[in-house]
């Protein structure tokens, strides 16, 4: 094959391209993406570089939901080294780093480390922990080079993805094995990223089977506390995995993926004690180990329908010694069928089955009961996409039905409308209900939140007061519910400019909260007052907000991406002091607004200069002030097989606070200014 070199033909076509491009630059219009493109001829077309703005926008164009896609290019050029870090650019997501490896990621005002209303999946496998209804991001390290995209859907995706997708879904999708062929080696070192290395090899077996295997490790330096001393949260991780893709026939595909990992990080907990000094700073080590395996079979039929069957097993072990350990095994089966029963109806329906068993052991100030439990979740969903007016108006009706061992049945209906007045604009509206099943910790747990010393603020008595959240025996916990109304507008003004707006109003009629319980005097081990707070579903409130995202390519080599979010949280007043205090905690845990502005500039000879400016409003709880920070990256593609980059993060201040550990008391830690260098080889 003669013309297939990676360099453009250096003769007449080059001059034609330069002339055309020059003309376009003079006219100030949209570069050379005009009808003239066809005049370039085949050879020249093969050398044209394509942009991703319009393609990404097209993918979203037909979705009646608030979707944002973080592409592989966004990940590579932002200098991030982890998934939650990449999520900072997504409007509607609040992402805060409160320790080296620990992140609080939530959507639309439902804040906290264990923000429990977000469903997170990696290639279809849920990484949401049923122990405390959240994600342990420290156990989800990934080879970011092989991540194809992260799709973030804010808002209830219940009809498709089910319970626990209450405030949104984050779907991390890796590249197909055929797009990761050959070898990749990555090596880096820096001030906070002490060192990291990754190795991946992709191969093929015949024309129909491709695979890849990888291994990756990192060591990260800890953050610092308010005095500048080490936070004791150094971390390391080692992970290895594979992916296999096989085309069995024209319409049949098989995919398999799996990983095994071990991650370790330090923490410091202030363990409450009923004797002086009432709280002891205790270094802990958190270890996460796991192995998982997923297989998916997809088949297309000649009548236009398609079906997919997926199964995975996931085994995890969490140990925060010596306080909590959890061993969990999950098996999940999922079936989906897409068909077109009539010309204007596209129907998708599916069945799901999940079984999860755990063994927990707890001691000291955290106690979970029972120590061994398993649950079963059976679900079914159906979803009809109806073309009311062909090419213009679509109505989507869906519902998901679930039965969970803990809470019984929960119907989750969903109604959406999508209007495309022309190829450039889309307006959508949605009304939906979603449900969050209570976690283990929500149900039967006892947690000594803190001890108020005698004669201190909040405790004028001579005895220490132990504040304890606990469950009311005999009272069944209910799942949380959300009724949401959403409205969105999407415009692709031209291939270089896309705008996406979304507004929402979420009503939570029965949120998990705390209500004042009995106050008793206890005598063991020493006399103290026990103030109990009961976990209940008595909190209700509403969050409203607005999100905007803009993607603009003013010049062929310069791309800008901006996002902005606003959220307002309001809880219904209650006569109960405990409930009101807790409501205030939640309300004050989310920043009211935030924005992100990214600039990606291609310089000459393979160099790239990228900036990322972001601002997050203050968080009243924890007295976290608003902050503005800047990340910068200088990349140099030395050749087709070697690339270097220099990244600086949090450049504006030597250190700043973003959040705090909200499950247990811990010293406040700060994110530091940092730098790292990375080299990538392809072979």
């Amino acid at each position: 094959m003669s013309a297939q070199s990676s360099f453009p033909p250096r003769r007449a076509p080059t001059a034609a391209i330069v002339a055309l491009a020059g003309m376009a630059a003079f006219t100030g219009a949209a570069g050379a993406d005009r009808a003239d493109l066809a005049d370039l001829g085949l050879e020249a077309l093969l050398a044209v570089e394509v942009t991703s703005v319009s393609r990404k926008a097209q993918h979203l164009q037909d979705t009646a939901a608030a979707v944002f896609v973080v592409t592989n290019e966004d990940i590579r050029r932002s200098g991030v080294t982890s998934i939650p870090e990449a999520l900072r650019m997504v409007p509607g997501l609040q992402v805060a780093r409160f320790s080296n490896d620990k992140w609080a990621v939530s959507a639309r005002g439902a804040a906290g480390r264990f923000a429990n209303k977000l469903l997170v999946m990696i290639d279809g496998r849920s990484v949401y922990s049923p122990l405390f209804s959240g994600v342990l991001w420290e156990a989800q390290d990934m080879l970011l080079e092989d991540v194809d995209r992260i799709e973030v859907i804010r808002g209830p995706g219940a009809a498709l993805w089910g319970a626990n997708a209450v405030n949104g879904i984050i779907n991390v999708i890796t590249k197909k094995a055929r797009d990761t062929q050959g070898g990749l080696a990555q090596l880096g070192a820096g001030t906070e990223e002490k060192g990291f290395a990754a190795l991946r090899y992709g191969g093929a077996s015949g024309e129909d089977t491709q695979y890849r295997v990888y291994a990756k490790t990192y060591a990260r330096d800890g953050s610092v506390d308010m005095s500048g001393a080490s936070g004791g949260d150094d971390s390391r991780s080692l992970k290895s995995g594979f992916r296999l893709d096989r085309r069995i026939s024209a319409g049949d595909r098989l995919m398999a993926t799996g990983d095994v990992y071990e991650a370790r990080s330090g923490e410091q907990w202030i363990v409450p004690r009923v004797t002086p000094p009432y709280g002891v700073l205790t270094p802990m080590t958190e270890r996460n180990r796991g192995v998982n395996l997923l297989g998916r079979y997809e088949r297309s039929f000649e009548n236009g329908s398609a079906a997919a069957l997926q199964a995975y097993i996931d085994s995890t072990h969490l140990a925060v010694s010596p306080i909590v350990t959890e061993r969990r095994d999950t098996i999940d089966l999922d079936f989906q069928h897409q068909l077109q029963p009539a010309s204007d109806h596209a129907v998708v329906w599916g069945l799901g089955y999940r079984e999860s068993r755990d063994e927990v052991s707890t001691s000291g100030f955290i106690r979970l009961f029972p120590d061994r439990e398993s649950f079963r979740l059976v679900s079914a969903f159906v979803h009809d996409d109806i073309s009311l007016v062909r090419e213009r108006l679509r109505l989507i009706i869906g519902a998901k039905f679930e039965h969970h061992s803990f809470t019984g049945g929960e119907p989750q209906p969903n109604l959406r409308l999508l209007w495309t007045p022309d190829a450039l604009h889309t307006i959508w509206a949605a009304a939906s209900r979603a449900v969050r099943i209570p976690s283990r910790a929500d149900r039967e747990s006892i947690l000594d939140e803190s001890v108020l010393p005698p004669f201190s603020a909040g405790n004028p008595s001579p005895l220490p007061v132990v504040v304890q959240s606990t469950f009311q025996p005999g009272v069944k916990r209910q799942s949380e519910k959300l009724d949401a109304l959403e409205l969105g507008y999407r415009a692709q003004f031209d291939p270089r400019l896309a705008l996406d707006l979304a507004a929402f109003s979420n009503r939570y009629p029965r949120l998990r909260g705390l209500v004042t319980g009995p106050t008793t005097v206890q005598f063991a081990p020493v006399p103290h007052v026990l103030q109990q707070l009961y976990l209940d579903n008595g909190l209700s409130g509403r969050t409203t907000g607005f999100e905007a995202a803009l993607d603009w390519r003013p010049l062929n080599r310069w791309r800008l991406q901006a996002s902005y979010s606003l959220v307002h949280v309001k809880f219904d007043a209650s006569s109960d002091f405990g409930r009101n205090t807790y409501a205030q905690f939640i309300r004050d845990s989310a920043p009211r607004s935030q924005y992100s502005l990214r600039s990606l500039l291609d310089l000459e000879r393979g160099r790239q200069l990228d900036f990322w400016l972001r601002h997050v409003a203050g968080i009243a709880r924890g007295d976290i002030p608003a902050y503005t920070e800047l990340d910068a990256r200088y990349g140099w593609r030395v050749s087709n097989s070697f690339e270097l980059s220099l990244v600086g993060q949090s450049l504006l201040h030597s250190r700043h606070r973003e959040y705090f550990e909200d499950l247990v008391h811990s010293p406040q830690l700060q994110v530091q200014r940092s730098f790292y260098v990375q080299a990538k080889w392809r072979f």
Binding site: P8, A35, V50, A250, E302
Partner: protein
């Protein structure tokens, strides 16, 4: 010479690297492929009959292709028909199946069998599955593969110039 250096100063990239939206590039490929294909005479109602390019679904390639309406290719005027369903393929000389129409791919290939129709798509593995020309994104560029057997079934002759520039050719029948 002064003029060309002025142009170079303002031009977007060194070495004349062109950057464009992938939809426009794919539409440009469609038009260029048409120059190197020869349909049987009974595929046209007459010497002045137009060359009809069809697009399924509502993707941006359809909009990009519309810009070429009325252009002359092989002395015939181009016509573009968009949002074409598998039942409406008769009269099309080329059909573009967008990536987001993947679930209709088999249906369209089946409907195309027996028609003098060249199928083009950027769906993964299109040429393997029996499509005539598959567009493949390699790095930041678009390349293409040709399935010769599929062209033969449609009775369409593919110029050797086109085959020479293809990344890959396949002779497999679906």
């Amino acid at each position: 010479m002064i003029f060309s250096s002025l142009i170079a100063a303002f031009s977007p990239g060194v070495g004349g690297q062109e950057v464009a939206s992938d939809a426009k590039v794919k539409a440009a490929f469609m038009v260029n492929f048409a120059k190197f294909l020869e349909w049987p005479s009974d595929a046209f109602s007459g010497r002045d009959a137009p060359l009809t390019l069809c697009v399924t679904g509502r993707g941006p390639v359809g909009a990009a292709l519309s810009a070429y309406e009325r252009r002359l290719v092989q002395s015939r005027e181009l016509r573009v028909r968009r949002s074409v369903t598998p039942e409406e393929l008769r009269g099309c000389h080329m059909v573009y199946v967008g990536e987001f129409e993947e679930r209709h791919m088999l249906q369209i290939l089946r409907a195309a069998a027996g028609l003098p129709l060249v199928t083009v798509s950027d769906i993964d593995g299109f040429a393997d599955a029996g499509g005539t020309i598959g567009l493949v994104e390699a790095g930041q560029r678009v390349q293409f593969e040709v399935n010769i057997a599929s062209a033969q079934r449609a009775n369409v002759r593919v110029s050797s110039q086109l085959l020479r520039l293809a990344r890959n050719t396949r002779g497999k029948l679906q």
